[in-house]
């Protein structure tokens, strides 16, 4: 029977997943109303992975993220107001409006940056782990990527070195089934889990919709890495509710029935709230109240970003060189 503190943890976890869900819904809405420039790749459906993994980390641990990175940034501690500002290309954004949706970095929360090259940040995360080891710190680095990164060579180059040198890095593969617009079985030969195993990296396959399972697996991998036992690999089975990006609306490569089934049966927020209520640990009304609060906070964050100024012209040539 979970104790009081554990209930507090799961309610906090629920709140973080909810914040990502509602943040992403706001982004979707902004885009559809033509308020947001560029692209956004939404994370809705995959919230349990970001929150389950980041909950297992300390604030001084590192993450790197992907083009679908809003969830990772929020889970690691980024503030929604500055994230909205970045998405809108505004001056107070995390990257002063120069990175946008795909490049949010927040070193204060250990986020070394989202990356728009598939597998592009796998080297950076592994290098952060190398640095941690060289400095004798017990920090770990988590490298988030989608199953599409399994097609990129650099992932195997850095996993080889991480295994050889027992680096404290955890590779978190979010298999949301679709490598952009193509089912992963059409792009990925053999079993994904066999690939890190070939380097001797321990693999844990996880139900990526069950935040408790993700958290447990991540905690184990983090403990191993922190103890100097080398890298880990979490293969999280999950689902992207929406398209590859906000403009991918017809999604002809998959059925609406499939999408509905995941939403109805495998939704990470529902799975956690149902478990909490079934265990008698929380009332339904708790979640309703929480949703009101989070919505109110996000309204304030968005209002801040909408009102924020755009960068001054001289910003364009700033920070090319340090």
């Amino acid at each position: 029977m979970p104790g009081f503190t554990e209930v507090g943890l799961w309610l906090q976890v629920y709140r973080e997943m909810l914040a990502i869900r509602l943040f992403e819904e706001r982004v979707h809405d902004l885009y559809r109303r033509g308020k947001m420039p560029g692209l956004a790749h939404l994370y809705i459906g995959q919230e349990a992975v970001a929150v389950g993994v980041c909950r297992a980390l300390r604030p001084d641990d590192y993450i790197t993220s992907t083009h679908r990175g809003h969830g990772h940034c929020l889970a690691k501690g980024a503030a929604p107001d500055r994230m909205f500002a970045e998405l809108l290309g505004k001056a107070p954004g995390y990257c002063r409006g120069k990175g946008g949706s795909m490049h949010i970095a927040d070193p204060d929360s250990g986020n070394l940056g989202a990356n728009a090259i598939v597998a592009g940040s796998t080297g950076i995360a592994t290098g952060a782990a190398l640095a941690a080891k060289m400095r004798g710190s017990d920090q770990v680095a988590v490298c988030f990527f989608g199953e599409g990164a399994l097609g990129q060579g650099i992932l195997y180059e850095v996993m080889n070195m991480a295994a050889l040198w027992r680096l404290p890095v955890i590779y978190v593969c979010e298999n949301n089934l679709y490598t952009e617009y193509t089912h992963y079985t059409e792009t990925t030969a053999g079993e994904p889990a066999a690939r890190p195993a070939a380097f001797g990296i321990p693999v844990q396959e996880v139900d990526g919709q069950d935040v408790r399972a993700v958290y447990a697996a991540a905690t184990a991998a983090v403990q191993r890495a922190r103890a100097g036992e080398g890298p880990g690999f979490l293969l999280c089975h999950t689902y992207r509710y929406l398209g590859h990006h906000v403009g991918d609306v017809d999604r002809s490569y998959r059925s609406r029935e499939e999408e509905e089934r995941w939403r109805r049966e495998r939704d990470p927020l529902q799975l956690l709230s149902s478990w909490l209520t079934a265990q008698g640990l929380a009332e339904r009304s708790v979640f309703e109240r929480m949703e009101e609060e989070v919505r109110r906070e996000l309204e304030g964050a968005l209002a801040f970003a909408l009102d924020a100024p755009y960068p001054e012209a001289e910003e364009v040539a700033r920070h090319v060189y340090a």
Binding site: C95, H103, A105, P107, N115, I124, L130
Partner: protein, 339 residues
């Protein structure tokens, strides 16, 4: 004008060391000075690289700081970028300049852009040391000079030392720089000897050096071509033609003022570089001179680079592909004769 720091000591007592020794000394001194500096690359430890440039470093600093890597150029460049982002100061060794192509995503899309994309919050104090230069009979995949590739990308600095003195001073500055610096060493020059003082010095990135003063013609030459230009200048001096040889030393940042001032003074300019001429560094240097010194020029700017062919193996063919002293002298004569 060369900066004060750039003038080698005039003392005849100054010791002479090779280009390779100068590189090694720079690395050793910076590694002693700063525990964040480390080396990573293929065969860098016991082997000390095929060119023996790093011999002895692993004995002093150990395999934790002179790290032998797998043959994974993209991987080691990415890992070094990540280590730099969190505060280390890695020096990556890419054995042949041709192989930067394998690491190009990490160089051009990651290392070069992290600082800008993060709005200035993250820094990448990374050095990628690699080689350039043909005429080693190594054929097309081991002979290219690809510094134009990286000079093209905002966010990267690019150094092209031409003497042991410059190699040491520029490499120390590169290691201390908070930006990614791609450092090209001409593999034909590793045995070149030159004066290098015992005492500490650095050379700022972005300051050109007048390697030889002259009045009739400016030769702007980079890396290996500096030695070619100096030999050509010597030959031309016998004919009464006074050549000023200007070495930019870094293509990024580029010391435009020194180049333009020299061209304005002499009224004629020939630009020499071992990279491919087409869309290459010579185009940029010639354009800078044309823009800045046009009304002072008595003839169009000329440029000489590598032929637009994969570098061939046969010695007879390979020697045709890059500027030689004889060809440079011939073009210089034409330029001076033109009015």
């Amino acid at each position: 004008m060369p900066s004060a720091a750039a003038i080698p000591p005039a003392s005849s007592a100054a010791r002479e060391i090779t280009f390779a020794q100068a590189v090694r000394e720079a690395l050793a001194e910076e590694m002693r000075r700063d525990p964040r500096v480390f080396i990573i690359g293929e065969d860098v430890a016991e082997a000390g690289t095929p060119f023996k440039v790093l011999s002895g470093l692993v004995q002093e600093f150990g395999p934790q700081r002179v790290i032998d890597s797998p043959i994974s150029e993209a991987g080691i460049t990415g890992i070094a970028t990540g280590a730099a982002v969190v505060g280390m100061r890695p020096v990556v060794d890419i054995m042949f300049g041709d192989f930067i192509t394998l690491a190009m995503d990490q160089i051009a899309n990651q290392a070069a852009k992290v600082h800008y994309m993060s709005g200035g919050k993250l820094r990448v104090p990374l050095v990628v040391r690699t080689t350039l230069g043909a005429t080693r009979r190594s054929a097309a995949q081991h002979s290219q000079s690809l510094h134009a590739w990286v000079s093209h990308i905002p966010g990267l600095k690019v150094a092209l030392p031409s003497t042991p003195y410059d190699a040491k001073g520029l490499l120390k500055s590169a290691i201390r720089d908070d930006n990614p610096v791609i450092f090209f060493e001409d593999k034909m020059m590793y045995t070149l000897r030159g004066p290098v003082p015992e005492e500490e010095y650095t050379i700022p990135l972005g300051v050109a050096d007048v390697k030889r003063p002259g009045t009739d013609l400016t030769m702007v030459a980079t890396s290996s071509m500096v030695q070619v230009a100096l030999a050509a200048a010597e030959a031309l001096a016998a004919e009464g033609i006074s050549v000023e040889v200007v070495d930019p030393r870094t293509t990024v940042p580029l010391d435009r003022e020194t180049l333009v001032a020299s061209a304005r003074k002499t009224g004629r300019a020939l630009v020499l570089d071992e990279g491919y001429e087409q869309y290459g560094v010579t185009a940029e240097l010639a354009a800078v001179i044309a823009e800045g010194a046009f009304y002072h020029l008595e003839a169009p700017v000329r440029r000489m680079g590598a032929m637009h062919v994969p570098i061939p193996f046969s010695p007879v063919l390979e020697d045709l592909t890059v500027p030689t002293v004889e060809r440079v002298v011939a073009v210089a004569r034409e330029l001076v004769a033109a009015t």
